[in-house]
Symmetry: C2
Subunit: 380 residues, 2 copies
């Protein structure tokens, strides 16, 4: 494969079909989508119906169990290594939708320990915790139910997870984390232990655990599924997303260290406009004349892909944009303007909600109904 997808590195142009095969996950096909539709009154989220969430493990089991009255809970997370960009927000947007549709509890883990332990990050623990705080504001702004959502940081919630973490840790040896995560003899002992803490929340409830997350996290869930039985617990289920393509083209993922690849949630209107104009990889022709004549290619055009996955939910409108662009009626600049307007509207709203989120942090972390329950539990 000429691309690489691990929890710590994403490189190259990802062939998602190959990845499905390589990871041994299942494609979310039409049959499964039809099944899903029945639970949401036909209202499939744009991220599902346009294939951004494209693969799964045992999603069919979760839906079947649901038919038989067995509910599920949702679990996702964030490695707080810096400011969040638009791509980071996508799994949360989808998770929030699932919470609404299925009335499910949501657990959101901030791995402030992991991001400190990763040597290449060069972040102090103080910094990862500061980012955890910042990121939590963005996550809350997505609109989760404050009584049914528990947001926690590993360094704060560890005492409640540690006994269960020990039981998981005893089932996993160095050979296994070496094989699954590519750890080496030079890997620090904190990072060697860390995967255990990402597995603990999959056992937070005695229901099915459904994890909406980007597919690079799959190695954790493979390991979880290997050991769940031996602990007398359930294998977790996953619903895997693609990566929102970086502005610069369809290779790799947006990177905090390359600001030209990403739009940050803090980017103001002017910055967004400049970034899209300057960096958004275009599927258009070099000149207006050629474009009018030959048409553009929306499949490789990042502005179009962003609109398709996230910012133009209306199926008729997106179809028209696609046709107009392919035919040459819509110019690259015009396409970019559509995205810029949608994106800036989204960000303006997001930042308003983020301001309000500051007053909600304590609810999500400590005082909401679910949070209170969680601080009274110790997982064994």
């Amino acid at each position: 494969m000429n691309f690489k997808v691990t929890p710590w590195e994403v490189e190259g142009k990802i062939d998602y079909d190959k990845l499905i095969e390589f990871f041994g996950v299942n494609k979310i096909d039409e049959t499964l989508l039809e099944q899903f539709k029945r639970f949401v009154k036909g209202d499939l989220h744009v991220l599902l119906r346009r294939g951004y969430f494209f693969a799964h493990r045992d999603l069919d089991r979760v839906l079947n169990d649901l038919k038989n009255g067995k509910k599920f809970f949702l679990y996702t997370g964030r490695g707080p290594s810096g400011p969040m960009h638009i791509g980071h927000l996508v799994p949360f947007i989808f998770t929030k939708w699932l919470q609404e549709k299925f009335d499910a509890n949501v657990y959101i883990e901030l791995t402030d320990d992991e991001k400190f332990l990763e040597p290449k990050r060069k972040l102090s623990l103080e910094e990862t915790r500061k980012w955890a705080h910042e990121n939590i504001l963005d996550i809350i702004a997505v609109g989760f139910d404050p009584e049914k959502t528990f947001i926690f940081q590993d360094t704060e919630y560890i005492r409640h997870m540690y006994p269960l973490a020990l039981k998981i840790a005893k089932k996993i040896n160095f050979s296994q984390v070496k094989a699954v995560f590519g750890f080496k003899n030079e890997t620090n002992v904190g990072l060697i232990f860390f995967p255990v803490l990402q597995m603990v929340p999959t056992f937070f409830e005695d229901k099915n655990c459904l994890i909406p997350a980007a597919i690079d996290q799959d190695p954790y869930w493979r390991l979880q599924r290997d050991i769940a039985d031996s602990l007398g617990k359930s294998k977790s289920s996953q619903i895997h997303s693609k990566f929102l393509p970086p502005l610069t083209g369809l290779e790799g993922k947006m990177s905090a260290s390359k600001p030209e690849t990403a739009v940050y949630l803090t980017d103001d209107e002017k910055t967004v406009k400049e970034k899209i104009y300057k960096y958004a990889f275009s599927g258009g022709q070099p000149t207006v004349e050629e474009h009018r004549k030959l048409g553009g290619n929306p499949d490789i055009d990042v502005s179009f892909q962003w609109l398709r996955f996230l910012f133009e939910e209306d199926d008729k409108k997106i179809k028209k944009i696609e046709e107009d662009y392919r035919s040459g009626r819509l110019l690259t600049g015009e396409l970019k303007d559509i995205l810029i307007e949608k994106l800036n509207n989204f960000l303006i709203n997001h930042r308003q909600r983020r301001e309000k989120a500051k007053e909600l942090v304590n609810i999500f972390k400590y005082e909401g109904r679910l949070a209170r329950e969680m601080w009274n539990k110790i997982f064994e």
Copy 2:
């Protein structure tokens, strides 16, 4: 070497001089004992003056710093894998004496996590925590100052240690724990991480940390001393004990899985008598006639060694016992009777104090002055 000393295994007849060389520690020599004496008004503990605590790292530094007004704190611990025998109690007896003489805070870590993670133990986490509770009663019975002693279990205190643990963990890789502890690819990731938690308490105060413990724990402190500088913290100092010889002879150490090797703190008077009569390895001759003629060998006689190290503190009396035994005046049975009486007295008193300890558990763990301070701190 035809013996083995690791935190998890002690086998063969230990040559303590060779061990000093092999571990690269220092012998506690007469000069150091003289220096020590000045701090305790000439009153050296029997365990020091008879060489039970026989080796150290940087004890001279601790004493020098003390001269210059820099105090130290004491740290020791217990792996709660079962009931405690008389040998387990020795480091606590000595630590309690140090606390009294130097007015030092004492931190006692119960590694309920480690003993669960050790695969050969086959203990559930519930069991190691039950043993932690039982062992804490024996430890309190030794007589520590309830306002200056903090007793804690890893599974309970983890949240307060975890941030600092992460900083330590980031400095230590798999190669290092492999070299120092003999970990293998098959070692579980919990045990790989665990040494970090045994190192955290060495940084509990901004003073010198002095650790009285059996010498098998030295690998932890070697690693601590390797990484302390890079964290901008102090290397810990150790005062290492030998092992109280098992009843069955001078090889190995007392073992919970071989009841004939040990006297448990719960053994009643009759059991103690039977065990000493039946199992205590004797340096005497096969018949009374030969013994009277040739004399016994106290150097290999376990009853004599137990008296010497622990139960006969009077130097004149122990000298007389030794001479009488060596000359043949004192028979093996008579020597054993002396030990039995002393040992049973000790155990009767211990069990009375252990009963009273039940009311003190909350003080040592949560409510005493030092304990309260510790629950208000998070180590970063």
